[in-house]
Amino acid sequence: MVSEKVQKDPYLDRIRNLKPDQLDSALIPFKQLLDRKTVANLQSCVNCGLCAETCHYYQATGELEAIPAYKLRLVKSLFKKLSTMLGGLKEKPDVTGILDSQIIERWVDSLYGRCTLCGRCALNCTMGINITRLIRMARTTLASIDLVPPELQSTVTTAVEKGNNMGIPREEWIDTLQWLSEELQMEVGDQKALLPVDKPGAKLLYTVNPREPKFFPLSLLATAKIFYAAKERWTVASDYYDVTNYGLYSGNDDEAGLLSSRLRESMVKLGAKALVLGECGHGYNSNRWEAPEWLAAEDRFEVKSIIQIIADYIRQGRIKLDRSRNQKLVTLHDPCNLVRLGGIIEEQRFILNNAVTNFVEMHPNREKNYCCCGGGGQLAMTRYAKRRLEAGKIKADQIRKTGAQVVVAPCHNCIDQLSELNREYDLKVEIKTVSEVVADALVIEKKEK
């Protein structure tokens, strides 16, 4: 049930004091979101309950509210009230009381508070129902009446207003790039080595998770080192460089579309050939798969993950790696948005097999992997932090079983969550991005000064 802390929250007070006309107004976007796929999915569930154990929240807590079929039922029950026995929408439904504060509270608690939109239930549903999409549809409905949990909305609002989700001022970003350029020059022994900004005509426009310049600049330096070694023509944008898009999680398609459109603006402005998405699972899903739908336009350029780019460098011999520089036992975490929902599955394995001497898979892996519980906006929604750490135990156990000393995760959100799990469950592991591991193995012949 809802925790004590949550019950005292002004957000919940707002839900409890919703007026009937506010509640009714949510029905309009809900109906607009229905298409033949969602309607078919809403009518397909047989309540077999086999989805229960595919959800890490249910596995961790055993609570009914965490079962995907229960979450689906919340959405389905609204559809049922709005539809006829023959499946169409009622022409003049009596909307009074269709939604009430208690229903909304249950929606928020289960659909925001017990779901990372990881897609594991959708992959495992015996009927093939895309439960994840239906939950996001419900989040969109809640977003339409401003009921996104405030901490999550705050992240989105910061990105919308400041250009990146951490609110990093432009000057600070440029400063960071400058000193990282100096670091790069020292590391590779080349005064011409740079992290290029707003370079017109570059082949690749690279986008980053703002937590890199803010807290983990060496992660950005690692990628820059790889680009340098590959002699890539690349650039970052001085204004819109944020690969993250928390609109995917809040459910607000307008804001999500706006954030993704900015990266496309940068592409057009700089004339780059490909948009390269940094190591961010939901950033990949948002910008590769969802953005064209939000913006109702096909991308005229390639949208690739940095993981694909690095794998290509290795295949093409553009970078040389010395695996002996990474001798610790390494395992790989598969971020849900990159792997199960993104389709980037084997490239990171190919990279690690070339960059480390000892690589061990966790089980299950690839598209069947467990969510670390850092997605779905959970890291932002601090009100659900206890649940997040509890549900993350499955991931912690997975890691522990491998005996690995290093966990590689091609996603900064996952890295945040894995770092917390590392402390919570005393895993004693190092957590790295793919770029960091590759950079450690890079063979660069230093130029003479």
């Binding site: 229905l34 298409d35 033949r36 796929k37 969602t38 309607v39 078919a40 999915n41 009518q43 397909s44 569930c45 047989v46 309540n47 077999c48 309950g49 086999l50 989805c51 229960a52 154990e53 595919t54 055993g62 009914l64 079962i67 079929a69 229960y70 026995m85 023959l86 499946g87 169409g88 959708a122 992959l123 495992n124 549903c125 015996t126 009927m127 093939g128 129902i129 895309n130 590769r288 798969w289 969802e290 953005a291 064209p292 739908e293 913006l295 109702a296 336009a297 096909e298 991308d299 792997v339 199960r340 929902l341 993104g342 389709g343 599955i345 084997e346 299950p364 690839r366 598209e367 069947k368």
Partner: protein, 209 residues
Amino acid sequence: MFTILKLGVAASGLFCAGVLMVVLIRTFAFGQKPVYARPSGSSFAGVMYAFGWGMLPWEKESAAKHIWTYMGGILYHIGILVTMLFLATILLRISFPMIWLYLARILLAIGLFCGVALLIKRILKPHLRSLSSGDDYWANFLVDLFILLALISTYAEKALIPFLIIAIITFVYIPFGKLRHCAFFFYSRIIFGAYFGKRGVLPHPSRKT
């Protein structure tokens, strides 16, 4: 009486098919949003997977971890199929060799056992009970009864009358409860396969070659 019931079954069957058709048409009438993201895999291959390898228990953790429930579900549906075929032979006065009758009895008995077992599981498992509505119990009970009467009818002709009555009730009920999944199952699997296929997630690389 017997002839009237047979006509009733035919009429209720047509009613069921007709209503399901209307439900599907109304579902499709919701339309489809245009899709803009470029594919990186094959939707077609994904759909083929969804109806092929993807149906195997080890391909899904939900099935692999609950192999008896999964097998029970499969055998239950085979029992339903045999019941429908048996009903068709009654309506169309088709005779068949005794060996087929023996086989049908075995499949009906197994299907019935599985159906009842699934019903008991639904009643006994707390989380499943919490998820269930009256429709879940009624649909399961009704279909179990349908199979049971088919099985008895293979031994005693007197059971044909209640069998046909239950067939009528079942056909009339199908489009209005969870049993309508018989129409939506195929479309939902297509949506599933196309979604993960387009994104290059399924079929898994080991199945692509």
